[in-house]
Symmetry: C2
Subunit: 337 residues, 2 copies
């Protein structure tokens, strides 16, 4: 039983590459009273990590050079010195990117997993991804039946859930994604009302056609040109939950966009940046809703499940090159199979 | 008794000038049943008019070429054919820029003016200006005692009231204004905790010093560089009521500013554009608060009162050249003296 970790090796210049990460051996730390030893099974690979790789970033996820990177994951309890957690329990938490983590039992969540649902979904539609979609859309977006909801990065982990929740709420849902395969997936498999390909030259025109009644809620994952075109169609009192801005994350310099203030005033519109964590008091309630919708077949998700701890850098890069559909997860070990 | 009106003559190219407006004779229209004939006493001159002078604007105040411009004003009832309004009543409403207007009694508000307060304040701190300050700050900004509130265009009509209400609510208040006279006025006369001169070269540095605890509420009137520096100091869960963006109003092309999405996410911050009208159900309550604060000496205001219907174009320009402090009002006639 040997441990291994991935540390943040250097600040990326633009798109992160192999040099951003460094693999190195690590010790296995014997748990003390109140602690548990965990074997990592799955790690969630998310675009927001990129925010923590900016020099001087004061972001909640800021990583430190030569220190392990960390993010959400699922693990199995190998050894427990806490009486609330048993060996063999499946747990979720913020883990350092290691094969084995030793943590306080207070910092992990013991899952009561549903055997009908693949366990890695507890990092996706039933995890932080689903929570991010749910609260951003429902708490900030406040969609009403009949309204038009537009979501960008719509075939991505969060966006695909956002659109399906908006459908459940009776909205007219338009997804924005890159390429024919993704837009077809949104319409044919996820039941979106329409989808627009932002990579096509006629993006502005296609978007205008797709939202004849304007836009009431724009769930923002992308920023840049994709967003600026949506802003032209906002209705009065539009709401814009700002979940991400992936088009900006790899910019070497600050991106300049049309000033947003005149747009917000003209439409009496609201834009609100958020992290799922601010809604944590309501996570349990949301998880119940999400699980029910999944069982009812109202929320479908796709996972790009990559096997092997060594494939994390390439899985992370894939988020920005737009190759994959859905949630990116790396399976580190088969301990939960 | 002769009538005269000001029509929107042509779209301004940048800063509006004399050619933007055209004076012409007008008829006095005999009121029908349910209508009143009004003699204009005061007209409010506001930066937001500029939004209505943009080709293709779908803004609530969009003006039409060769049609009268209109805005808030006070008038005296000269003749009434409605039994809810009497001759001699003082009324407030959205008036066309004419010496005499004939309107439905339903579209005007009969004021019960307080003799201790100059009547033109009913266009300022006790009118739409005060309502804009009050609701934007309190409903959207949600300031809590001890928090830092920053307001731009702080010596202006709305900004000066915003800062004083924030002081009443126990906040630490920093105003941004152009020039020594204005910043001194904010500190010495209005009781702001600090004030920063955006026209000075060291603006960024001076602002950083003025907000050692970051910014919880930024009441936005200006946009551009002034705003972008404030954004660097936002605290988590900051709120930004967007009332105006005067730095952009005369731009001949769209202004490009750093993308706001990453800023909003990083700080889990909210930006909301608004018009005072969306809070109209609460105007009465707000007016009571404002009147009380004015009587208690907690809200002071300055008015730049220009006499003469012919001086409207220059009063409007003065809003953008930053020469005047406080509320801009044109006294059209002495009918309410």
């Amino acid at each position: 039983m040997e441990n291994e970790q991935i540390v943040f090796a250097q600040f990326p210049d633009g798109l992160p590459d192999e040099q951003t990460f460094r693999y190195e051996p690590a010790e296995i730390i014997e748990p003390k009273q109140g602690e548990v030893l965990l074997e990592t099974a799955y790690l969630s690979i998310d675009p927001y990590f990129r925010n923590g790789m900016i020099k001087g970033a004061s972001y909640v996820t800021a990583f430190k050079i030569d220190q392990p990177i960390w993010g959400r994951g699922l693990a199995k309890v190998i050894q427990s010195k806490d009486n609330t957690v048993k060996e063999g329990d499946i747990v979720r938490g913020l883990f350092e990117w290691k094969r084995y983590n030793t943590m306080s039992a207070e910092d992990i969540e013991v899952l009561n997993v549903d055997d009908d649902i693949p366990v890695h979904w507890y990092l996706g539609a039933l995890g932080a991804t689903g929570q991010t979609a749910y609260h951003g859309l429902l708490e900030i977006g406040q969609p009403k039946a009949g309204e038009t909801v537009v979501v960008s990065a719509a075939s991505g982990a969060v966006g695909s859930v956002v659109g399906q929740i908006a459908k459940i709420k009776g909205c007219y849902v338009v997804g924005i994604a890159g390429g024919k395969a993704k837009t077809q997936y949104l319409i044919d498999e996820l039941g979106f009302d329409d989808a627009v390909d932002y990579k096509k030259e006629n993006y502005a025109e296609a978007l205008a056609k797709a939202v004849p009644n304007g836009v009431d809620v724009y769930y923002e994952n992308v920023g840049g040109t994709v967003a600026n075109e949506v802003f032209k169609h906002l209705n009065s009192f539009a709401r814009i939950p700002v979940c991400g801005s992936i088009s900006n994350y790899n910019d070497k310099e600050i991106s300049y966009e049309p000033a947003v203030q005149p747009i917000l005033i003209k439409n009496q519109a609201l834009m609100q940046g958020f992290l799922a964590s601010q809604f944590k008091d309501d996570f349990e309630h949301a998880e119940k809703d999400l699980a029910q919708w999944i069982k009812d077949g109202k929320i479908k998700t796709k996972t790009s499940l990559v096997k092997g701890f060594g494939n994390i850098p390439s899985a992370f890069r894939a988020l920005f090159t737009g190759k994959e559909i859905g949630k990116q997860i790396v399976q580190v070990s088969s301990v939960l199979d």
